[in-house]
Amino acid sequence: MKNGFITTFSQTGQSYKTHIRGIGKYGLLLAFFVICLALSLITPKFLTVQNLMIIVTQVSINALLAFGVTFVIIAGGIDLSIGSMVAVTGVVAASFAHPDTYPVAVPIGMGLLAGLLFGAFNGFVVTRSKVPPFIVTLGTMTIGRGLALIISKGRPVSNLSDSFNFLGGGKILGIPTLIIILIVLFIGCSILLKRTVLGRYIYAVGGNEQAAKASGIQLNKVKMVVYTLCGGLAALAGILLTSRITTGQPNAGTGFELDAIAAAIIGGTSTSGGTGTMTGTLIGALLIGVISNGLDLLNVTSYYQQVVMGVIIIGAVVLDSMNQTNKG
């Protein structure tokens, strides 16, 4: 039983969301620099090499997860399981990374494989069932956490090889490997989203799923790819985090999904799908990183930090919708 009468009517009166979203990339970038400037004036500890390295480490893990979830959100979905995937892929990689067992390619490969399979499973359930992705990935979030505990038998997996620990903790030509990996993946994801046919399809599926289907786009394929990709990026984050803390922690990544989704949303990705950029997400992740670091330096306890972060997320979305009303 459809209430066709009302639906048709409200559709004709529907106003469309504007193309340019958010306070804009430049507004975000400006906010980022203002906060950096303010922090460097308030506390001399902010602008030190050591501190910047801490920020970069935090940001890069979150940014990798945020890139993955940005693909998913633009395609009209959501993935809540990325934090659990960090744990699963981390302990899987760590299990193969003990000294004098396998070459370093093996833990990386196994971790990646675990993430890709996990993501593909999300995609499979989302496309084959009519269950909303929010519910599906809420379920796999719990499943993933359980798997990580099973694989590690509930204990941290430590005693990892030096070559593995180099991945997230080393430097090449004085630049931390995490920064190099972040830059490479940022460029890769940007190209995938903006310069490939797949990227165009992702926007189309999230922008109007039925019209995308009627244009000959195979919805299930696009969604499978997007969730699998998100799993792959979560695996990279998991491997790098494990390497960085030199331990595979089954409890790692708890709540990471929220930071990643927040970065995407602050960066202008619409939760209703169809819009968003990797640049926006990167800036969103940087902003979150700088603010939480600043609050650390100012000795604000983590309890208050959470309140501040929540206010910022809502603020970004409110600004965003105000912007839309002005234009519409």
Partner: protein, 496 residues
């Protein structure tokens, strides 16, 4: 001449414009207490818009509505409902999980004085009494979802009665009813009119109209045509009044040579929607699909294009049976579809003109921005799409230009056959003429066209052959020379 006081509802000078197009143009209607007043007109004549204004879903640009001697303030659904104008919708708006009694009193729940708790027992009793008075055996405690469509309709009527409606609008109330159920409905209508309730009755079924209506008002192209007692009209006269307009010269002649068969369907059936459809369309030919709302035209198009499945029969492309399970398959077979629902199925609103136009034709891994822009610019010029540029988001374009973007997308995929489903719905006359010209160009290029349209002049002016459908069955295949608006309407009217 009767005075205003004879009328319970008196509408005059009602005008409503949608983006420059007059959907209602100086419409009037005088409704007497206790009469059944049929409102007749083709699809798009303005009946629905008119009723939406009456029940407050739309606000008119101008005009006067006098209800029970008072000026009716328009545009407030709840207020108008309270004053006593109710509508039984074509598609029932009940809440399936709630009981019959709860649905009848939805929004007007009787509550006890203490704490505002719902008084279920009283509601059930009132609903039971009401249904009994109507001579119905429906239990007030049954959840709505277990009722038949006919029973739901009766509940809707009960709701209107309990609302003390003095005017009840019925939009195609018998479309899902059996003969026996229709008889029950007519009996209830008889009881209502006895009590002085006036009924505005919309239906395409001629027999029904002449059985039940006291008065008939005809609308055409949003204009008031005539009001006459039903006894002074017959079916032929009524059809002539509904369609009687001159065919204008908007339509260029299709002189393209007809080639081989491009697409055909045989024994094509989808349960509940259409049965045993057989037709073929040839290169350079325009095949028109005519029929009333619900005849199954769009459903056939959607099934051919792979948007919906079908139960029986097969699709043939150039004589070979093909498997089509998704639009991707259909596009690969050279079938293009321009949907009647442009916003839902046509375009991606926030993507640019260029991205939308190329969406069905992208190949390889990387996009080709330069080449895509060139393609978009040339198609924009060919189709005369007015936009700031290829990078403007389609949501900002006018309806006509959005439609051209969708057509551009379909054509860029190089189809052998194009299904155009209501291609001119909701676009202005200038853009309409351009789309007519474009259809001619397509056939000149050897493309086969299937044209679905509710506007008979469009079907008559453009089609080489016309397939008429009625209630999911094909009732006639007419050649251009045999077809007139009257013959099409005769075959399109349900046999009842």
């Amino acid at each position: 001449m009767s005075t205003d006081q004879d009328y319970i509802l008196s509408v005059s000078g009602l005008t409503k414009t949608f983006s420059g197009v007059k959907a209602l143009d100086n419409v009037r209607l005088n409704l007497r207490k206790g009469e059944v007043h049929a409102l007749m007109g083709e699809n798009g004549a303005g009946k629905s818009t008119f009723m939406k204004v009456l029940i407050g879903l739309l606000t008119p640009d101008s005009g006067e509505i006098i209800f029970k001697g008072e000026d009716l303030k328009t545009g407030n659904v709840n207020d108008i409902l309270k004053k006593g104008i109710s509508m039984i919708h074509q598609e029932i708006l009940a809440v399936p999980e709630l009981t019959v009694a709860q649905n009848i009193f939805l929004g007007r729940e009787t509550s006890s004085r203490l704490f505002g708790w719902l008084n279920d027992r009283q509601q059930i009793k009132q609903a039971g009494d009401l249904l009994e008075q109507m001579g119905l055996t429906i239990q007030p405690t049954t959840p709505m979802k277990y009722l038949s469509v006919a029973e739901m309709q009766m509940v809707e009527i009960a709701k209107a009665i309990s609302n003390e409606a003095s005017v009840i609008i019925m939009d195609e109330p018998t479309s899902a009813l059996s003969d026996k159920e229709v008889a029950t409905l007519f009996r209830i209508i008889g009881d209502l009119t006895q009590k002085g309730v006036a009924i505005i009755y919309i239906s395409h079924k001629m027999d029904e109209i002449f059985t039940i209506a006291d008065t008939i008002t005809v609308l055409r192209d949003g204009k008031y045509i005539v009001t006459k007692p039903a006894s002074e009209l017959d079916t032929t006269q009524l059809i002539a009044l509904m369609v009687g307009r001159e065919i204008n010269t908007l339509f260029p002649e299709n002189t393209s040579p007809k080639g081989d068969e491009v697409l055909s369907v045989k024994n094509f059936s989808q349960s509940g929607k259409f049965t045993n459809i057989n037709f073929a369309v040839h290169a350079g030919e325009v095949l028109g699909l005519a029929g009333l709302m619900g005849a199954g035209r769009t459903e056939i198009a959607r099934a051919i294009f792979g948007l919906d499945g079908f139960n029986d029969g097969a699709i043939y492309v150039r004589g070979e049976k093909v498997r089509i399970q998704s639009p991707a398959d259909a596009i690969r077979q050279g079938i293009g579809y321009v949907s009647e629902d442009r916003k839902a199925l046509g375009f991606i609103p926030r993507l640019s003109v260029k991205d939308n136009i190329t969406l069905s034709s992208l190949r390889g891994f990387f996009t080709q921005p330069k080449q895509e822009t060139e393609t978009a610019l040339s198609l924009m010029a060919d189709l005369r799409i007015k936009a700031n540029g290829p990078d403007q988001a389609v949501t900002y374009l006018s309806g006509g230009n959005q439609q051209k973007v969708v057509i551009g997308k379909v054509l860029l995929a190089k189809p052998a056959v194009v299904i155009l489903d209501e291609p001119t719905r909701g676009i202005d006359i200038g853009a309409k003429a351009e789309i007519y010209k474009l259809i001619n160009q397509l056939t000149a290029d050897g493309i086969a066209v299937i044209l679905i349209s509710s506007e008979l002049p469009e079907i008559l002016g453009l089609s080489d052959r016309i397939l008429v459908l009625s209630q999911g069955r094909q009732t006639a295949m007419l050649s251009r020379s045999d077809a007139t608006q009257e013959t099409i309407m005769r075959y399109a009217m349900p046999a009842n």
